[in-house]
């Protein structure tokens, strides 16, 4: 068994020269009150000391955590990260840059809605306003459905993959990042980042899936389960070594399938939003939930319009023939097929067991580079 490498062991390390900071941390006079993060691991909230100790801790992949992580990332993406980026801080890292990627998505969606709606009320006649608004509202709904379909459809792939293989490709973890001091009087400025174990498929964070031996858990508790589910056998000596290549393959294929299918589902979302039956909903649409009667009626119409729009999208316009009739069905079918084919591909291993001896694995005629 190859043991996980822990490259950060000193729990009390501080990156600051500030005296009082030292005094506060290492030789504590009074025990500090334990602080917890909002996210949980094995159903328990993660303490900051645990995070400091392990540097990275897995996080339960549940709705509550996902929502919190999304909120944390979003709030930072519109406040702290751009502030740091605009200052040119050396601590602004690639994680922050990628997290800020949400900003153009959301701002772009809002602007796209605005482009089709904001100027409508200034148009020449009520008829112009009405026709432009009818289209504008559908476009806005299209933008909304694009985002929803794109995000939710990812689970069409990841969830079955998790059921069938035991590999949660979306497994999040929380990581503590110590920032470099930017000023002389800077103390410790750790920041919390939320990553996914398989976000890098070249360097998955394998360590996080090992059991905590200090708590009596078998080291390969996770890999044993996955290996069993993948049909690699039980009571394996090195289940981690056996399972890792297959897990990596699963993660790559899942990523590929979810990416492709999610954009196709997003396209389906947009096209459903552009169907005629939505006109009925927009006549009674309201978000004023404090007027329950109207709001409930509006939501009822929303559901009816949704059902009618999906039907109109799949069946095609009345009296249409050929491609026009089947365009919607084809798009929806392609999206569904991409999901299904993607899942089947994930469940089918492309890497057959090698029949070569280890000596043959290194090709003598090739040049090699040390990583």
């Amino acid at each position: 068994m190859i043991l996980p490498v822990q490259n950060y062991r000193n729990n009390n390390i501080l990156f600051t020269a500030k005296q009082d900071a030292h005094a506060k941390s290492g030789n504590v006079q009074e025990p500090e009150k334990e602080e917890y993060l909002f996210v949980t691991h094995n159903g328990k909230r993660i303490s900051k000391s645990e995070l400091k100790k392990h540097q990275a801790v897995p996080v339960d992949n549940n709705l509550r955590n996902r929502m919190y992580i999304s909120w944390d990332k979003f709030s930072n993406a519109i406040t702290m990260y751009p502030a740091r980026g605009l200052k040119g801080s050396k601590n602004s890292n690639f994680y922050e840059f990628l997290t800020m990627g949400t900003v153009p998505y959301l701002a772009g969606s809002a602007m796209l809605m605005a482009v089709f709606n904001s100027a409508n009320k200034l148009f020449a006649t009520h008829r112009d306003i009405a026709s432009a608004s009818a289209f504008g509202k559908k476009m806005a709904l299209g933008v909304l459905f694009y985002g929803l379909a794109k995000n939710f459809s990812k689970s069409f792939v990841t969830t079955p993959v998790k059921w069938f293989t035991g590999v949660d490709t979306e497994q999040p973890y929380v990581k503590l990042c110590y920032k470099l001091p930017e000023r002389k009087d800077d103390g410790d400025t750790p920041s919390v980042e939320f990553h996914k174990v398989y976000e890098s498929l070249e360097f998955p964070y394998w360590n996080l899936n090992y059991g905590d031996t200090s708590k009596g858990e078998p080291m390969n508790i996770y890999y044993d389960k996955v290996a069993k589910k993948l049909g690699l056998g039980t009571n394996l000596k090195d289940s981690d070594q056996d399972a890792k290549p297959r897990i990596k393959e699963i993660a790559v294929k899942t990523n590929f399938a979810k990416t492709f299918s999610s954009y196709l589902w997003a396209a389906v979302g947009v096209c459903v939003a552009l169907q005629k039956p939505w006109d009925d909903y927009f006549k009674v649409a309201t978000l004023k939930f404090w007027q329950p009667k109207r709001f409930i009626a509006s939501m009822g119409t929303f559901c009816d319009s949704m059902a009618d729009s999906i039907s109109a999208f799949v069946k095609g316009p009345e009296g249409a023939k050929g491609i026009k009739k089947y365009a919607g069905l084809t798009l929806a079918g392609t999206a569904a097929a991409s999901t299904l084919v993607g899942i089947v591909n994930v469940l089918t291993s492309s890497n057959k067991p090698s029949k070569l001896d280890s000596a043959d694995i290194i090709e003598k005629d090739r040049k090699y580079v040390v990583n």
């Binding site: 490259n7 840059f97 800020m100 772009g108 790559v252 492709f260 954009y263 396209a267 005629d365 040390v370």
Partner: protein, 877 residues
């Protein structure tokens, strides 16, 4: 940090003291001399053969000439990435690239779906333009708002890319904490140092410059993240708005070229329109019915198949011709019909009498086999006419009567009345009718034999050729002149009206103040026309400009000369040829349906095809002629404020070539108040009048007791508009009266508008634009002839133009309501306000988003001046 097998081993292995000089005990194994008993541990211990390869990473200098090759390489890379991802061994960079591919694929899905749903080619095309514009905007915004300003201000591209040793293209500054500075040349460093005013002799100058570059790049990346969202949809919308007219023009250009080509190379092009469906369907009908007696069902199938690409009226003619050609009045009888005859007799007898005894004896009533054999043997296989068949039927009936009499003798009582009724039931009202005759005539003597099949095949071949020509000509006519989006006519209309709003100098504010109500637009236009007409130079200038635009636009799109000339000529030639060929084949009724009878093409397909062009063309021409005529009216008022020109009118006596025209004068002097009323009604009709106004909605409210002392001319305000001294529309709305009896009033209005002289200024301005001048003259003539004496014009007694037969009876307009509607054309206020509103809406949109866009651009570009200022650089030193 992650580790792997090799690293882990290396870290834990005790290395030789001097790695440069390996111990003699260790054999150096080169890869060329690899031994069969290869030992990984030994190989790893002797690491001299494992060494980093020389780096191949370099900064990519994007240039436009290398773009196609780069694009091709990227495509190959994406394909390889796709394969690797499918197999499950893709790396992070490959998966990142596939995300972009997926995004484009999804976008294509949306565009393809919407392409299918849109109805016109330009709208369809815009779906893909929109998609391309969106993706282009993503890069364009960064390039225009950040990249170029940064290069200009800081001397380097913060979004520069590099290719790593594995051939992966990445952005250099994307990861603020992983920057392969080795790739940046000293030249770049020195340029940035100079631009950023970093001291020349500063210690660690390169470090300082690098940090400055990192800071600026990070700031640019952050700014990009913050601005790309709002900027991308904005920029793509602006691009789409600008590209839509370009796409329209491009489509129109190629569509016109293609359609014009139909007439230019007609004999070649028309072949492409041959569907082959006629011959295919006719052959399948012939195959199905060959050798069978020709009946109505076969005639229907054949005529439908032959005329499937034409008007159903032609199918009627074809069916009649085929019936004439393929059927005869003789029928063949056969022994095989005996059974049917027996069944018919039984059913007739049962239907006549309810007598159960008779029903029980039915077998004895129906003619015996011997009786029938005797009858059928006599006629078997012969072609019989109706009289002979009747004889046969009589023989059968005689047999029945004979059997009934036998039955009577044998005790079953059948009264004479019943016998009489049974005999009667066998016959119909005429010779060829009745149940028995129906059985005997179901085998017509004429069958679909080889000769008949050959004739039909000939007809099918000729019809197929003709339909190809007709389809080609229909395509030409439709694309040119149909009232549909993306036709030449549609394009011409939109372009010309758009130009017209410019020529009339209608401002956005004017549209804004009149946009809610058409009468307000009418008032605006009336005031515009009055002001233009008041100034001779301006008047001529506007007429010339409008005529010039009209001429250029219509001649480059609709090409009326081709429509009226080449198209009609080709149409007539094709129809004449097919009429001759079909005439030779004896298809006279079909020919009638195609080209008419005795030179009169009324109701024929040829006439319909010609009328399609005439009607569609005249709807456009009359609408625009109305514009020129309106201006002419306003100029006439300026030239003759006494409105004397409204008193002269023509009267037509007689019909067609016997008719002659006399000019008459209304001698009654006009009061000034009446002049104002004539002017007001004329003004309304020119700008807003519809066909309904000329027929049923002509109630103009006037003052029953006008000022009877003032006979003066109309007076004008200083800006050229007419000043009403007496006429007050608001007051008349409640107190005014519709004075039916004043026929001269209506005559003057029509004379003023359509029958008065064309003004000299109009004529001189249109000197070079014969096409417009002819159009104007034709319009005025039509309005006088067809609208002026409209039967239901207001009231029959108030017709504007007197037209009388020589016998003294009145002649009314003969034009159909549809034609008269075409003559009146589109009201100017409606025409202008539709386009003006569209322009107004677009301007409003532009105004709002141009401001946002420019603001965003300004902030983004200006932000460059605040970027940089790394702490490592102390410029004071």
């Amino acid at each position: 940090m992650q580790t792997n097998l090799i690293n882990s081993y290396i870290q834990n292995k005790t290395l030789p003291q001097n790695s440069q000089k390996p111990s003699d005990n260790i054999e150096i194994v080169t890869r060329r001399k690899a031994k069969p008993d290869f030992d990984i541990n030994r190989e790893l211990a002797n690491r001299t053969f494992i060494r980093p390869l020389p780096p191949k990473g370099h900064i990519i200098n994007d240039n436009i000439w290398a773009a196609p090759a780069a694009f091709a390489n990227d495509m190959i890379y994406d394909m390889k990435a796709l394969k690797s991802a499918w197999k499950g061994d893709a790396n992070d960079h490959q998966l990142g690239k596939l995300n972009d591919v997926g995004m484009k694929l999804g976008g294509l899905g949306i565009a393809a779906y919407l392409f299918n749903m849109k109805k016109t080619p330009v709208k369809k095309g815009m779906e893909f333009v929109g998609l391309a514009a969106f993706f282009a905007s993503m890069s364009l915004w960064r390039y225009l708002a950040l990249e170029i300003p940064a290069i200009v201000i800081h001397g380097f591209n913060p979004f520069m890319r590099y290719e790593d040793s594995q051939g992966r293209k990445k952005e250099f500054f994307q990861d603020n904490q992983y920057l392969p500075y080795d790739m940046i040349s000293d030249k770049t460093i020195n340029r940035v140092a100079k631009r950023r005013r970093i001291p020349e002799n500063m210690p660690n100058k390169r470090d300082a410059v690098q940090d400055e570059m990192r800071t600026i790049a990070l700031q640019n990346y952050t700014m990009w993240m913050l601005t790309a969202g709002p900027a991308t949809p904005l920029l793509s919308s602006l691009i789409c708005n600008k590209l839509e007219p370009v796409l329209e023009n491009t489509y129109s250009y190629f569509m016109n070229k293609k359609v014009d080509n139909i007439l230019v190379k007609f004999s070649e092009v028309q072949k492409k329109y041959k569907t082959g469906n006629i011959e295919k369907d006719v052959n399948s009908v012939l195959e199905m019915y060959k050798g069978r007696p020709v009946n109505d069902e076969i005639l229907d199938s054949l005529s439908t198949a032959l005329t499937q690409e034409l008007n159903p009226k032609v199918a009627e003619g074809m069916k009649a011709d085929l019936a004439n050609m393929l059927t005869s009045d003789k029928f063949i009888v056969s022994k095989l019909q005996k059974k049917t005859v027996t069944e018919t007799v039984a059913s007739v007898v049962k239907s006549v009498s309810n007598d159960k005894n008779l029903h029980a004896e039915i077998a004895k009533i129906i003619p015996t086999n011997e009786q029938l054999t005797a009858i059928f043997d006599k006629f078997d296989g012969q072609k019989l006419d109706a009289m002979q068949l009747k004889d046969m039927a009589d023989s059968v009936v005689s047999g029945v009567v004979e059997n009934l009499q036998k039955l009577n003798k044998n005790g079953t009582k059948v009264d004479k009345r019943t016998v009489k009724n049974i005999v009667k039931a066998f016959y119909g009202n005429s010779v060829g009718e009745g149940p028995l005759m129906a059985v005997l005539t179901n085998r017509p003597a004429k069958v679909l034999d080889d000769e008949a099949q050959n004739t039909i095949k000939k007809i099918a071949a000729r019809m197929s050729d003709f339909c190809a020509e007709n389809n080609a000509l229909s395509e030409y006519a439709f694309k040119k002149i149909a009232f549909a989006p993306d036709t030449s006519k549609g394009k011409f209309w939109n372009d010309f009206v758009k130009e017209l709003t410019g020529i009339l100098e209608i401002t956005n504010e004017e549209i804004a103040s009149t946009r809610y109500d058409r009468p307000l637009v009418a008032k605006l236009l009336q005031s515009k026309f009055q002001k233009i007409a008041a100034d001779k130079n301006k008047y001529e200038q506007v007429i010339k400009k409008a005529a010039d635009v009209y001429k250029k636009k219509i001649e480059s799109t609709v090409k009326p000369d081709d429509l009226k000339g080449k198209y009609i000529k080709q149409l007539e030639a094709s129809y004449a040829a097919v009429a001759k060929d079909f005439g030779d084949l004896g298809l006279t009724r079909t020919v009638e349906k195609l080209v008419g009878k005795n030179g009169n093409d009324t109701g024929s397909l040829l006439k319909v095809s010609k009328a399609f062009v005439d009607n569609n063309l005249s709807s456009v021409k009359n609408s625009f002629a109305r514009f020129f005529n309106t201006l002419n009216f306003y100029r006439a008022v300026v030239n003759d404020p006494n409105l004397d020109f409204a008193n002269h009118y023509k009267i037509k006596i007689g019909h067609d070539h016997n008719a002659y025209v006399e000019t008459r004068n209304i001698t009654q002097k006009m009061l000034k108040e009446v002049k104002e009323e004539v002017y007001a009604l004329s003004e309304f009709l020119t700008v807003s009048g519809r066909i309904s106004d000329y027929s049923v909605k002509f109630e103009f409210l006037r003052n029953l007791a006008p000022n009877d002392k003032d006979f003066g001319p109309l007076t004008f305000n200083s800006d050229g508009t007419v000043h009403f001294n007496y006429y007050n529309e608001k007051a008349l709305a409640s107190k005014g009266v519709f004075i039916q009896s004043d026929t001269n009033f209506f005559k003057r209005v029509m004379n003023a508008l359509f029958d008065g002289p064309i003004q000299q200024e109009t004529n001189s301005a249109l000197q070079e634009f014969t096409i417009v001048k002819n159009m104007l003259e034709e319009y005025r003539k039509n309005m006088v002839d067809e609208i002026g004496n409209l039967n239901n014009f207001a009231f029959p007694s108030k017709v504007m133009l007197d037209q009388w037969n020589s016998d003294g009876s009145r002649i009314y307009s003969s034009g159909s309501p549809n034609l008269r509607s075409l003559y009146v054309g589109t009201p100017l206020d409606e025409m202008i306000s539709n386009t003006a509103k569209l322009t107004y809406n677009t301007n409003k949109w532009y105004k709002m988003f141009k401001g946002i866009g420019l603001g965003l651009l300004g902030v983004t570009v200006l932000s460059q001046f605040f970027f940089g200022g790394s702490k490592k650089v102390d410029k004071k030193k």
